[in-house]
Symmetry: C3
Subunit: 426 residues, 3 copies
């Protein structure tokens, strides 16, 4: 009975058009052009590599899209058990009329061709968006993105700031900042003005959030401009900084971002917990891992310091989820946001979703974002989430609390969509 109930709720949730509040879509090339754009997603290349495929087999120079898929397909047999493979199957069935249960050496070429034919049609992007019921797709834009040539009311810009906070010691990042803002940034005041310019540029172009991913050991703290004057001068004269100075500079820039979020009324998406390049010989985008020894207590000053800034927080690990639940329960400006990366598999999502839904205000949980690089991924990823959400609604609300299905669906729709609109704006 519970399975049927869950299925009914799922079918209802499946009808709901969505806003995807965090993706890595390139609005100039949003949909896939070949199956390699799908199988080349790091979720597949890294798993295939982890299962034994040499990096060179898929990343050597001159490999064609079809050759890349040919190299990946034999590895897929080892990945059929994964949630990631389920996404792949769903995409192939929903978008490419694939009828089989496995992608094999025998059937991949016809699949490749079928996908290619579909993707070659001029309105493929629109077809995918329609079939996926996507009303809006948020982007992740470099700070020096001109934000031109696409419809920012559909592909909503988002100011990504990792480079500013963690790579400003690199001359090319500083050059990009100077160029993007058409400013000399030799003084701290000029740096501050340049950062503010970015917020002006982005908000003029409909940006709805500032975003950053953060390593486990980062602790935001207020840093005065005086504290960085000397190091900024030295950095700009070609000197290198000591490790603690690099941290101070990161903290300074981070705090500036928060101040601008406050001034420009932008939510500040925090994606907490990733260590970059842990596996140095890994495939593209398949090198990052983490140290679970991190805590939201590191954000105490930030959350207290900016009561008017909304912080949608994503945590990389399941072991951080209860902290996120508790901090969202206490801090008005902390929102539990989605199910990110290594926590984006059903075993973790279900427990994290349940613990959030039964403990924090329903206005403070943004259910899901796809994090996708190509449009085709929204449908299977959101479907996975909708199914889990339906299960939790069935078990914890309809059955446990005696709610009507209608009432449970209203809660589900708020979590899936309503809160996106309320928090990021329509």
């Amino acid at each position: 009975m519970s399975i049927e109930l869950g299925e009914r709720l799922f079918q209802e949730l499946e009808q709901l058009p969505l806003i995807d509040p965090h993706t890595h879509i390139n609005p100039h090339s949003a949909a896939s052009e070949t199956l390699a754009d799908i199988l080349g997603y790091h979720y597949y290349t890294e798993l295939a590599h982890s299962a034994g495929l040499p990096q060179s087999a898929i990343e050597a120079d001159g490999i064609s899209p079809k050759e890349k898929v040919a190299a990946l397909v034999p590895q897929l047999a080892l990945l059929e058990n994964t949630a990631q493979y389920q996404w792949l199957l769903v995409m192939c069935k929903e978008f490419f009329d694939f009828q089989e249960d496995r992608i094999t050496a025998d059937n991949w070429e016809s699949l490749y061709d079928a996908a290619g034919a579909k993707m070659a049609v001029g309105d493929w992007e629109q077809q995918v968006l329609k079939q996926s019921k996507l009303d809006q797709v948020y982007l992740t834009n470099d700070f020096d993105d001109p934000l031109t040539g696409f419809d920012t009311s559909f592909y909503v810009p988002c100011l990504r700031t990792d480079d500013l906070v963690f790579h400003l010691t690199k001359p090319d990042v500083r050059d990009r900042l100077a160029k993007a803002t058409n400013r000399d940034i030799g003084t701290v005041e000029e740096l501050q003005a340049a950062i503010t310019d970015l917020f002006t540029h982005f908000t003029k172009n409909n940006a709805r959030a500032c975003a950053i991913s953060l390593p486990p050991d980062f602790s935001p703290a207020p840093v005065t401009s005086n504290s960085v004057t000397s190091l900024w001068t030295r950095l700009n004269s070609g000197k290198s900084l000591a490790a603690d100075e690099i941290v101070t500079l990161s903290q300074f820039v981070f705090w500036q971002l928060a101040e601008n979020c406050d001034e420009f009324k932008l939510p500040f998406d925090l994606m907490i917990g990733v260590n970059r390049k842990v596996y140095e010989a890994g495939v593209f985008q398949g090198q990052d891992l983490y140290d679970k020894r991190t805590s939201l207590i590191q954000y105490k000053q930030l959350f207290n310091g900016f009561p008017n800034v909304t912080f949608p927080v994503s945590v990389l690990t399941h072991t951080s989820n209860q902290e996120l639940v508790s901090y969202a329960w206490i801090f008005p400006n902390v929102i539990a946001n989605g199910h990110w990366w290594y926590s984006n598999t059903p075993a973790y999502i279900e427990h994290d979703c349940r613990s959030r839904l039964t403990a924090i205000p329903q206005s403070k949980y943004v259910g899901y974002y796809s994090d996708m690089y190509k449009l085709e991924f929204a449908l299977p990823k959101f479907r996975m989430y909708r199914r889990i959400l339906a299960k939790v609604l069935a078990e914890d609300f309809v059955i446990a609390n005696g709610w009507s299905e209608q009432r449970a669906l209203e809660l589900g729709k708020r979590i899936l969509r309503g809160n996106v609109e309320a928090i990021f704006g329509k």
Copy 2:
């Protein structure tokens, strides 16, 4: 079938009269006087504030109980999904004849009046106790509580020692200690004697436990009285202590408490993991959070040092639960105690309950305490726990192990009540 079985077990467990081994009841005003005493509980005020209600709307000077409820009610719509709201609904239905599924702008005043009328009856406290099947209620008493004016065989005193361990640097705490014990406490020997006086006073008045809540970074360690002589003298001459001296003093006092627990044969309740005042602008009692990076290994010396002291341990976080299971599995003097605060929601309780029940001796898990400030909360909180316990008994014992329902219920009753009596005394 499993749902029906669980329901049967739950109904049986619901009949069991209880001892509530940890509350914050004021025995001179144990039951609520208005609905504001219930909705004013920090579990509601902090969630309402987290959902957007300004602190001033409920905590400004001169706000009447009815005005406070009027301010909170509109926020409740956002909290209907929470376990905390379920407690509220259960209380309103069980105690105040509330018939509806939601507390709204339209019905709250009649509810407020109905509750007020019930509470105004002279024996309201006794009615609540009877309906809640409470045979005994443990208190949390300040160290200088005279413990007079109430029946200590029903409202059982418990010596709360946070002030002694963490706030003895404050002159007013030292003054309270001196006054309560009628001693000069200028020397370490006098301090030790004063602490022992407290144990004498409390045990004479039927106290059944010494208790303390502890921050994540605290590590008990033996400290000789010689080590604190100098700092104690300086402190008493009005000087301030260095950070490491404050820690040493805390460790010294804590160890003294353990020694007195040993001598007076009192269990020492450890409630591990809370950071106070993390959200400084929060509502009353809604400011505390935590750093999950804590470990029971910090208590190695304590657990080894006092083999004859029983330590009922509560952990604030789900991520600490397995340590608690493992330490209770190995150390004879460590007891897994209840489901505390941020871990007191169904998603966490169920997993924590199951992992304890299937791994440690059945004599070493005290199932639940309410932590309540007003008597009305015991019924809904224990009901939540009884329901989860029934589910675990059904799934992991009746179904998985083939136990009879009777045998499963015997285990459940031991967890709910028998262990309280065995550990804290009848």
Copy 3:
């Protein structure tokens, strides 16, 4: 329906003969001789002690096997709820024709005698192996084990290296190493040669793995032989080392082991997270616990440094499981290995199994090992795991993904056995 489906899958998985890839079996005395060999397992003695039995009651000099069992039996009533007790019941029923549901003061002596009679039969070891469907049993051998007198193709040696890495400061360990390799080990070069000798000896005798258990704070790092020359000389001249020098020596030896694993193509089993002798007054093998604040990030250099060494990794805690999932997902040479010790109870196994099976390549999860000291334990422990695996296969693959039962069973068999063969060799 799901319960019936799970039961069908379980019955199928129960038929599969196994290789047990990690045990502490003594091949010269593999099966039990009395019931005391079973009840004397630390899982029972430590729980009985934790529930109140004095250590002396079971470990005093001169206690006979029957006296030990007599002392333990009265405590068993308190342990009936545990998974560990279920193992005991299964053994008694499967091996000793025990018909009752509880082992009590009234029935233990007949059970003791029945077990003794069975065990006294000459081929008891073979009977247990056959009934348990064990095709091969891996051992844990001291580095100076001669590896003679048993069939190494059945009882497969494994080079255990805790002593080398963590106790080489002890003269007797150095003496054992010198004696085992017939070398003077006064210089670092000689130490290195001796270590290589051990690998030669073990691989000549069919060893399939090098293994070590590691404390939570250990971080492998490359250390040059020059860095340890001075301290090695001092150590061998009877001087003691500073704490940081002891760490350097441990890291040096550990890195040497990894280099030899690389050269000899041996998997390196890492069992991460245990603190030894936390409860100093505990029973034999019942003294170890842990600090959950550990991370696989500490193994970054190791995993990167030895891409051709396979590292089957066991983690002691459930809170480390997601890291293990993620690191096995990214690093080709990291394998998720079994469910170890404090995580070897159903509540943890189920979640850990599910999260692994749905996120990492199916070739990278070795389902289970028994860790047993006596052969009788493989059957109940593997049965527990097979049941949980069947449940996960039923729910997450047959029901959720629409897989056939046959397909789910193929996955299950790979996890239970196929991966053992693929990773450790047939």
